[in-house]
Amino acid sequence: MPKDHGIGASSKRREDVRFLTGEGNYTDDINIAGQTYVHFLRSDVAHGTITNIDSSAAEAMDGVLRVFTAKDFEAVGGIPCGWQVTDKFGEPMQEPKHPVLAEGKVRYVGDPIAAVVAETPELARDAAEAIVVDIDELPAVVDMKAALTDGATKVHDDLTSNLCYDWGFVEENKAAVDDAIANAAHVTTLELVNNRLVANPMEPRVAIGDYSRGTDDYTLYTTSQNPHVIRLLMGAFVLGIPEHKLRVVAPDVGGGFGTKIFHYAEEAFVTFAAKAVNRPVKWTSSRSEAFISDAHGRDHVTKIELALDKDNNFTALRCETYANMGAYLSTFAPSVPTWLHGTLLAGNYTTPLVYTNVKAVFTNTVPVDAYRGAGRPEATFQLERVVDKAARELGVDPTELRRQNFIKPDQFPYDTPVAVTYDTGNYHATLDKALEMSDYANFDKRVAESKSRGKLRGLGVAHFIEACGIAPSNLVGQLGARAGLYESATVRVNATGSISVLTGSHSHGQGHETTFPQVIAEMIGIDESQIDIVHGDTSKTPMGMGTYGSRSIAVGGSAMVRAAEKVINKAKKIAAHLMEASEADIELADGQFTVAGTDKSVAWGDVTLAAYVPHNYPLEDIEPGLEETAFYDPSNFTYPSGAYFCEVEVDPETGEVDVLGFTAADDFGTVINPMIVEGQVHGGVAQGIGQALLENCSYDDNGQLLSGSYMDYAMPRASDLPSFDVDHSCQTPCTHNPLGVKGCGEAGAIGSPPALVNGVIDALHRGGYPVEHINMPLSPSRVWEAIQSMK
């Protein structure tokens, strides 16, 4: 029987009721009395010197309160970067200033030049059109390799070049890797692009600044995955507002996928402007504006080489990547191609030698930062593509080549050559599960059936490993993080026994309001409905780092468990007093405290009431009340893994790819709510299929964004996708967090692009077109051209 409550139950989501009835409270739904509206005038050229801004006509318009430009922000700081990478020579990365509004130069299409605050959004927009900006256009730097050539136009005059950093990892292994590749029995080489994407949460970003002269308090309402991080970055580094005078609220947030982690200029602007005009200031991004102001994702160009010995064992891996940073460093941008990428290149395999070189490059494009998976999809894509190509070159089954090189179940914990230690895993189990689920044994029959209809069928295989539960603070501190990555929780028990959990994790679709109570309900034995989650408001929850990197249950959940353990320990003391028993003999189950070996018991609610009405209470030993806080700092990352199979059919006449089926066999360790976990995989796989088949953020040579709306950027629609076959029964629980959980938010987006591309390559080979590689997205024209090139 499936469980109907607690850990492992598919409890229905309580947050759904408000979302299904139109009662959600998203940031754009908030309106404050006296509110004004800002419209940003953004650069329509990719690179240029601002020679003049004439805002007199705009300022004279009725309903315009004020026009702001860079000179209004001379006294404040730039938008900070939260991660400093040290290059292979031991030098810090180049880090340009990122002003709130463009100072002297514009550096990408979308760079904000001026901002109009007016009585209505329409007036603000009309007035922005009346601002005259003179820009002397400069050559735009768009291509990364061209940006690094001698004499290339510099994106930032005060930097020595467009190279942000040149990073090597593990630098000490480089010579050994080079040697192993030079002397290998076989080397498989692949050059590929991890296409630039736009995260596109369905809710565009919104920010509202509010300021009270009476108290000198600021409030920022914003579409953020981590309000405390925004409070710290904006308060300390941009505006100089101490935390106790700045409240940041992230209410219902309509999806994030990474792009709502970062601190953006618009947030600082509305907070600053609210004081300057002494009125609340609201900014609501349009979708078109989102395409040129939300941080983009991916955009790596890579050459990867895999060395094998005569028995097909992997002996070395070498990766050279160019990673686009865009025009400025977004909050976590430097970490994505380095520590979230280079450390994952062992994958599921025993490859003993790995070396990665990453050159991060400034270009005249929108800043690039973490998008669902962040570095790990890039690592997985290149690794699983080159392994697949090696199998084809060597004439062995791609699943068998992988199986042969897997880390074996008895090798855990496993020290990789790329600095991380996998605590648990069983890659053979997920592979076997996927083989069974996908009916691999009968695949050839399906190929024949497709062929009878003139179609080419293929099956793509990919395995993945990811590092989640981000992250041990002391480790990431050494790696350049300018933040700790713990999480916090307060478990506040009320007098009658109901509970509010205040968490630093933030839910923007993940269902924390349902899953977190399941854990507490399991621990105490009370009904889930007795427990509520409070999140997304720095004035309510303890300092927390928020939600990204599949960290909510692994880190935030662990903090909650630790706080609940403290609560239970104190409650046992109270129960022992009430039952005149020894604390050591008290047991808690099903909401009842009992004295072991007796029929004495006292209910949870009696103990909590005693804590707040302490008449019969050991006041000499313990304080009244029942509320505890814990900060949890993980001792290691978690390592979810899985086997993903994608079955496709290619029409050789048109190049169109039809995704027929998708199998995902994941190992997430302990699963709290199977329904929600499966939903996370569905969504991740859909985004991965989107990347592999449809989505592409495209710039022309002048730095003009060609895919700036849903008319041009192909978002996956229902008819583009199949039903998914997902499984999470292979569970090797994490050994270093209290729940044994690993995290499931990003897996789908990490494992699916190589599965799809491998499937299409497989279909083409089976059809007699030995195409080696096609860059994503695998649009009909690209696939058709690849087929034609083989004729």
Binding site: P2, S10, K12, R13, D16, V17, R18, F19, L20, T21, G22, E23, G24, Y26, D28, D29, N31, E122, N200, P201, M202, E203, P204, D252, V253, G254, G255, F257, S286, R287, S288, H508, G509, Q510, G511, P674, M675, I676, V677, E678, G679, H682, G683, G684, V685, A686, Q687, S709, Y710, M711, M715, P716, R717, A718, S719, L721, S723, F724, S729, G748
Partner: protein, 161 residues
Amino acid sequence: MTEVSMVVNGRKVSGNVEGRTLLSAFLRENLGLTGTHVGCDTSQCGACVVHVDGAAVKSCTMFALDAEGADVATIEGQAAPDGTLNVIQQAFQDYHGLQCGFCTPGMVMSAAALLKENPKPSEAEIRDYLEGNICRCTGYHNIVRAIMAASGQDVPAVAAE
């Protein structure tokens, strides 16, 4: 400014709008019915779908003045007066057809329009019909299942194990 009147969720309403005011803006800003969401500016995403005189309409693509005298239904009017979810809303919760909730009002309103014209749609028909509604969270898998379940078709329970 011009006065516009219509019936929204059975209630007579009116307000003063500019010629360029969209129906979505009128619902959200004038009436405070913020369940209707705006997710794009090219009439692609469908988060703003409402019913106008019984037909599914993207309310970002219609001027408020063009709805003069119309009968408009939004997500706020879908549940029973006592709060009981309608069959589509309930199926979305039962089958985990939503995550962040932002596209959800448009999805529910589109699903209602679909089931009105095709009471027992196939999976392919549902996927085809949702061409104008983008969801970034669910991969559509559970939305499709929710709509099939709402139409009375047999759908296995979620996460059966």
